[in-house]
């Protein structure tokens, strides 16, 4: 077992973990943050995507011990008080960018990264960026609509802010 301290959604958290514990299981089972979903556990579906030091990361391909001393943000960080939705979440709701919602937490975290690194991008780049997030329900068109709308909303919020 190993002692680790991780900043999870802004909050320093200490825990004792087995080295073989995946970050996805650590978040869901030890910390109780079940927003991060687990689909394939080998890196292909993207539903387990979180941010480590601001960069999107497969939590199923990361050991909890590897994030010692780092900052992990999960989908729960987008609307911390659970009330007002984050503009990306709002756009997904408005554009019907989800049905069952299994893929949604991973998609939201991938989009949050895109909004930070390529906020001006168009539909082709959106599709390319989201190629690693599989959705079995929507057929993707509304997801791309949602991301386009979210990027506009975030840009406008920045101008206003």
């Amino acid at each position: 077992m190993r002692e680790i301290t991780v900043t999870i959604n802004g909050k320093p958290t200490s825990a004792t973990v087995s080295p073989r514990l995946l970050l996805s299981d650590f978040l869901r089972q030890d910390i109780g943050l079940t927003g991060t979903h687990v689909g394939c556990e080998h890196g292909y579906c993207g539903s387990c995507t979180v941010h480590v030091d601001g960069a999107s990361t497969r939590s199923c391909l990361t050991l909890a011990v590897q994030v010692a001393g780092r900052a992990v943000d999960t989908v729960e960080s987008l609307a911390p008080d659970g009330e007002a939705l984050h503009p990306i979440q709002q756009a997904f709701q408005d554009c019907h960018g989800l049905q069952c919602g299994f893929c949604t937490p991973g998609l939201l975290m991938s989009v949050a990264e895109l909004a930070g690194t390529n906020p001006e991008c168009g539909r082709a780049e959106i599709r390319e960026h989201l190629a690693g997030n599989i959705c079995r329900c929507t057929g993707y068109h509304q997801i791309v609509d949602a991301v386009e709308r979210a990027l506009v909303a975030l840009r406008e919020a920045q101008v206003d802010g």
């Binding site: 995946l22 299981d25 556990e41 080998h42 890196g43 480590v52 990361t57 990361t62």
Partner: protein
């Protein structure tokens, strides 16, 4: 779908890491980005007694200029390769190829050293290393040695690296920085390449004086194609299509569920054609477009 039990080691220096490697025996693995190793652990394809995590080791994450080229630390991520200014100016082929690896989340964590040590025959880095006259620096408790890329990659997931050695850095030549090309075919965005082609040229007075054509996905290891390199060299080059035809006729790729041998040969033609045309670019336009 969970990793098996193992003992975990987190050294902070290369010295400590190689001593652990020497001490712990055969069933020890090194963890870099984990983007190949952790899937293997989850699927129980790997069952190590010990895992040595390089994540906290100092001095493996730098990119530095040397001899007109670059020394890239083993722990430099695919994403850093995509965004680093020195890579963009000195080895733009590597910068461009990085973007083809998996998805952003994979690139954020996966490393060049891990990919080279893993030696997947369809991976981008091994082909790029061959196209840029690369060499791999290997460090053990006893010695540090450099192995040319062509001698390093041996077969499927098999390299000249001994079990007690770490990949510590990769040297990429800078002299192909003006004339390079890269093209690959993926069935879906982010998939491993069916065929990838990396080309590096040195052009003086509208004549190709040096050429590298390296392919992934055609054999159990990445390969240079000397016949295509020869067809590309000299003032009387027949054109990108001719070089591509020579490359196509040089390989007998094995067919599998992703495509027959014939299909892969067509891909070799198409991807070589694009990569060569890109490398010649406006310097030898009439040939690039031929």
């Amino acid at each position: 779908m969970k990793p098996p039990k193992f003992a975990y080691h987190a050294p902070t220096t290369v010295r400590e890491a190689v001593e652990l490697l020497a001490e712990l025996g055969d069933d020890v693995v090194v963890l870099s980005g984990g983007q190949s190793l952790i899937p293997m652990l989850n699927l129980r394809l790997a069952n190590p007694t010990d895992v040595i995590d390089l994540g906290g080791v100092d001095g493996l994450g730098d990119v530095a200029a040397r001899d007109g080229g670059l020394d890239v630390g083993a722990m430099v991520t695919h994403r850093q390769m995509e965004t680093n200014d020195l890579i963009a100016s000195t080895a733009p082929l590597a910068q461009h190829a990085a973007g083809f690896i998996g998805y952003r989340a994979i690139r954020n964590r996966g490393t060049i050293g891990g990919s080279i040590a893993h030696a997947d025959p369809a991976a981008e880095w091994p082909a790029v290393v061959l196209a840029l006259d690369g060499a791999i620096t290997l460090t053990s408790a006893e010695e540090t040695r450099n192995v040319a890329g062509d001698d390093f990659f041996e077969s499927l997931f098999t390299t000249a690296k001994r079990p007690d050695e770490l990949v510590t850095s990769v040297h990429l030549a800078g002299r192909f920085q003006d004339n390079w090309g890269f093209s690959e075919f993926q069935r879906r965005t982010g998939d491993f390449a069916a065929v990838a082609v990396a080309v590096g040229c040195v052009i003086t007075d509208s004549s190709v004086v040096e050429a590298r054509v390296a392919l992934a996905g055609v054999a159990e290891r990445p390969l240079r194609c000397p016949a295509a390199e020869q067809a590309l060299t000299g003032p009387h080059t027949g054109g990108a299509a001719e070089v591509a035809a020579v490359a196509r006729d040089s390989f007998e790729p094995v067919g599998d569920s992703h495509g027959s041998s014939e299909y892969r040969k067509r891909l070799v033609f198409a991807e070589t054609h694009r990569a060569v045309a890109q490398a010649l670019g406006s310097d030898i336009e009439s040939i690039a477009n031929a």
